[in-house]
């Protein structure tokens, strides 16, 4: 692995750390992995607000599903 690659990886790590700090600050309740995925999507040109809506939607779905399974039992 070249030093440039390692530089890239460390800087990526740093960026992710900073973003994660901000997300903690804002209390978004995203874990680091999810955050990395989302940032990757945004880098690929996904509309961020829409993505946020997606996250919310998914959370809602999850909660509903949880409730369902809770009811089923």
């Amino acid at each position: 692995m070249s030093s440039r690659d390692s530089d890239r990886i460390t800087s990526a790590q740093q960026t992710l750390d900073i973003l994660y700090d901000i997300s903690q600050l804002l209390n978004t309740q995203l874990d680091k992995e999810t955050l990395a995925t989302c940032v990757g999507m945004i880098e690929n040109g996904v509309n961020p607000e829409a993505l946020a809506a997606v996250i919310q939607e998914l959370r809602r779905e999850s909660a509903a599903l949880n409730a369902q399974t809770g009811d089923g039992r």
């Binding site: 890239r8 997300s23 600050l25």
Partner: protein
């Protein structure tokens, strides 16, 4: 697009774990998500940073998280990897705000959070379409106006340039378009807008810049103060810590300025990115003057407070400065209160460290005279002089043990005497204006007394070991702080108690104050009757001689004899060593009785209580009591002669009447002097002593209280024994009457002695005649002498009559004035003297006689 769907799949899997196993659900969710993503969300970029900050400000009251966000953001901007940073931030913010919105508590209690002090724009949700629709709308009115002005050739100065200048102004530096200038009259800097023909600054912006530059002005003042104090020597510790705190605040301020500057530098790049977008959109991206104003608002308040402190620090000093700052803690504005509390915590640190040192070790470490206790420079060195002289005194005591040291060291004793009470009273001074208000004056006094006591124990009582152990104990008790006033008061109380208790102990046990007081009472106030009698007996013959024939060594030798032959020999040698017989300054014609005095020598640190003034009073008391004792002795001797001798061998019936008269008068005199003595010893001295002993047993209060108690004890005795009245100018009138009475008694006594001698020779003559008649010749004829004697008889008789008349007259006068004496005890003495209204009836008698004649 496949990339996105893959990522989406991942997302769905992590957020909705149930979907991992169910393909149908997975697909449904995926398509749903795709649908949402495909919706057109247009938004502007720089706006989001502001939104996030607002969000942060709303969620947490403090400014710190928003600052931290700004910091993180600028770091993120440095990272080269991401190309869509703003989108990421926007995403995070959206997640945060939507999750917040879902929170029912937040929606129910929206008014609890303070209204956003920030950007005065309308509350817009991130998916507000109005923002998006604004861009293609075309030229606004402002843009039209701008174009119109550009057409006229007087375009407005771009806000960015003005903004940069304003940032300079905030640091007290002149900018390119706006300058600071010092006007000559009042040292106030003024803003000058550089006139430029091509640009003009509109009035609203001008006022805005003015508003902002206030902070810059205050800043430069504070900074100048800090710089000024840094350079000069001899700046007080409290001021130093004020400067330290101000410096810390300024550093915070620099940080803010730096963040703001980084935001302005962001704007041009954003400008380049969106060159095609209209200007009003660009204004949203970075910093504007209005936003700057909002950012600065809190700092404006802070700077104002700081500059107030700085202004105060110019003429206040030390504790007074702390007072000045403390006066702001009662402010109704919570911000001001908090700020001053914080400031005071810092500023009072040196004060408390001084206090700690003073309170627990009695040392005053105050190089800049800031504490409310100040040392008297004239007496500061005394502490080092003292212990050495004390050890010398102790060594002397152990080596010579007895009286040997009496004569020689009177010189250095008198020089040392100066210091005892003066050292206690004047070494440290209490300065009320330096006392911080949060301590309170009563506690200030306690602190003052505690430290003084400790210092005194250490240096004057030579007991530094105890102080050192106390100091260690004090150190474990925790530090004194401004925020813990209750704890402070508690520790002050306990320190005060222990210190003054210890001082009492030291005085009573180590330095045997009680022994000295008792010795004074026994010797100087003739409490030891046998000693006084012995002294009177042995000294009497030599005191009749003129004063200049008396020698000190004779007196001291007699004193020693008196001590040896009385019960006083059982007293500790340390007490006896201090007792000395002395002659006062005498003038021509005075006899030994007038100038003889006993003296009791005290040295440090006892002379703090028994100071030279009180020793003088003791001597005064002694001379009066000694006179009384002399009269008593003379009278009792005379009485023995008259009562015994005249009956046994003076068988002269024709003088019987004279003797009877003499006995009557003498009985009156004896009654008088006995009552007087009983009054002095029982009513005055013993009663006062009980009071003092009660106080000493209680062991309350500090050394000041002890000194006061002793003073009142002594004053009471002086006042009552010497029968002083409070009338000014006539304080001693009664005393002089009593003294005249005493001299009358002495003269009377002398005359009776003469009469006695006459009777003796007369009876011898008669015996001779009788012998001659019987034819026995005894002795020679002394006709001529007889004649002389016979001539003397009428004068003697006359003198006796005269003296008895004067005596009763004077006694009457004394009783009369005693009955009108303001002091109750003295009045009671009058009652005792004429118990059966003896003198009153006599007076009535006289009046009657006068009327009848």
């Amino acid at each position: 697009m496949s990339d996105i769907s893959q990522s989406l799949e991942l997302l769905v899997a992590s957020l909705v774990p149930q979907a991992r196993n169910k393909d149908a659900l997975m697909k449904e969710l995926l398509s749903h998500c795709q649908e949402i993503l495909s919706q057109n969300h247009d938004t502007d970029l720089g706006h989001i940073a502001g939104l996030v900050k607002r969000h942060l400000l709303q969620s947490s009251a403090s400014n710190s998280s928003s600052l931290r966000f700004t910091n993180l953001l600028s770091r993120l901007l440095d990272q080269p990897l991401l190309s869509r940073k703003y989108e990421s931030i926007l995403f995070l913010h959206s997640v945060a705000s939507t999750s917040r919105r879902n929170n029912p508590i937040a929606t129910f209690l929206p008014s609890v959070a303070p209204p956003p002090p920030k950007i005065p724009s309308t509350v817009t949700s991130p998916v507000d379409s109005s923002l998006a629709s604004r861009a293609p709308k075309g030229k606004s009115k402002a843009a039209l106006l701008r174009e119109y002005r550009a057409g006229l050739g007087q375009s407005q100065l771009p806000e960015q340039l003005l903004l940069r200048d304003t940032l300079y102004l905030l640091q007290g530096i002149s900018g390119k378009y706006v300058r600071l200038s010092l006007s000559d009259q009042d040292q106030q800097s003024r803003l000058i807008f550089v006139d430029d023909s091509t640009y003009l600054v509109p009035a609203p912006l001008r006022t805005l810049v003015h508003r902002l530059s206030e902070v810059g002005h205050l800043y430069s003042r504070v900074e100048a103060f800090v710089k000024d104090r840094e350079g000069t020597a001899g700046v007080g510790m409290i001021e130093q810590s004020l400067c330290h705190h101000l410096q810390a605040q300024l550093t915070e301020y620099y940080r803010l300025i730096a963040v703001l500057e980084s935001q302005t530098s962001m704007s041009p790049s954003a400008d380049l990115d969106s060159k095609n977008i209209e200007c009003n959109v660009r204004e949203e991206t970075g910093l504007t003057l209005k936003r700057l104003d909002v950012w600065i608002t809190e700092w404006r308040l802070r700077m104002r407070m700081m500059s107030v402190c700085v202004e105060g620090a110019r003429d206040a000093h030390g504790g007074a400065l702390v007072n000045l700052i403390h006066s702001y803690t009662d402010n109704g504005d919570p911000f001001v209160r908090q700020f001053t509390d914080q400031l005071l915590e810092e500023v009072s640190k040196p004060f408390f460290s001084t206090l700690h040192k003073w309170l627990f070790s009695g040392e005053l470490y105050d190089p800049y005279n800031e504490f409310f206790v100040s040392v008297n420079p004239g007496l500061a060195h005394m502490q080092y002089l003292h212990p050495s002289s004390l050890t010398g005194g102790i060594a002397q005591l152990s080596s010579d043990g007895g009286f040997a040291g009496l004569g020689g060291d009177s010189e250095d004793m008198s020089s040392e005497r100066e210091s005892g009470l003066r050292l206690w009273e004047a070494k440290y001074q209490f300065q009320k204006d330096m006392l911080p208000m949060f301590v309170g004056e009563a506690f200030g006094k306690k602190i003052f007394s505690t430290g003084k006591s400790l210092n005194f124990i250490r240096y004057s009582c030579h007991d530094s070991d105890w102080v050192a152990t106390r100091e260690k104990m004090g150190n474990t008790g925790g530090t004194l702080k401004y925020s813990d006033i209750a704890g402070l008061e508690r520790s002050i109380d306990s320190a005060y108690l222990t210190a003054s208790q210890r001082l009492f102990e030291v005085f009573i046990e180590k330095f045997k104050l009680l022994d000295h007081l008792q010795a004074l009472k026994h010797y100087l106030m003739l409490g030891y009757g046998d000693f006084a009698d012995q002294l009177m007996e042995t000294l009497g013959p030599s005191l009749i001689k003129p004063a200049h024939t008396l020698y000190r060594h004779n007196l001291t030798a007699t004193l020693e004899t008196a001590i040896r032959s009385s019960n006083a020999q059982n007293d500790p040698p340390d007490v006896l060593r201090r007792l000395d017989a002395r002659m006062l300054e005498y003038s021509h014609g005075e006899v030994g009785w007038d100038v003889f005095t006993l003296e009791y020598k005290v040295d440090a640190p006892i002379d703090t209580v028994l100071d030279p003034d009180s020793m003088l009073k003791y001597q005064k008391l002694f001379s009066h009591l000694w006179k009384m004792k002399r009269i008593e002795g003379a009278l009792s001797q005379g009485w023995m002669r008259i009562a015994g001798g005249s009956r046994t061998f003076l068988r002269l019936p024709d003088f019987e009447y004279d003797w009877h008269q003499i006995r009557l008068v003498m009985a009156e005199m004896i009654h008088f002097i006995r009552q007087m003595q009983a009054y002095c010893h029982l009513e005055v001295i013993e009663c006062s002593w009980t009071n003092l002993a009660d106080f000493l047993n209680k062991r309350e209060g500090d050394l000041d209280a002890l000194i006061d108690a002793h003073r009142s004890y002594l004053d009471r005795m002086v006042k009552k024994v010497l029968l002083l009245s409070h009338k000014s100018g006539r304080e001693e009138s009664l005393l002089s009457q009593v003294r005249e009475l005493f001299s009358t008694i002495l003269q009377f006594r002398e005359t009776t002695d003469n009469f006695y001698n006459y009777c003796l020779s007369e009876s011898a003559r008669r015996d001779q005649y009788k012998d001659a008649a019987r034819g026995v010749h005894t002795g020679m004829q002394q006709g001529a002498q007889d004649q002389e004697l016979r001539d003397a008889l009428p004068t003697i008789r006359k003198l006796i009559r005269d003296y008895s008349a004067t005596f009763s007259e004077r006694a009457q006068g004394i009783v009369h004035s005693l009955q009108g004496h303001p002091d109750l005890d003295c009045r009671f003495l009058g009652i005792r003297l004429s118990f059966s209204d003896f003198y009153r009836s006599k007076k009535d008698h006289q009046l009657l006689q006068q009327r009848s004649s």
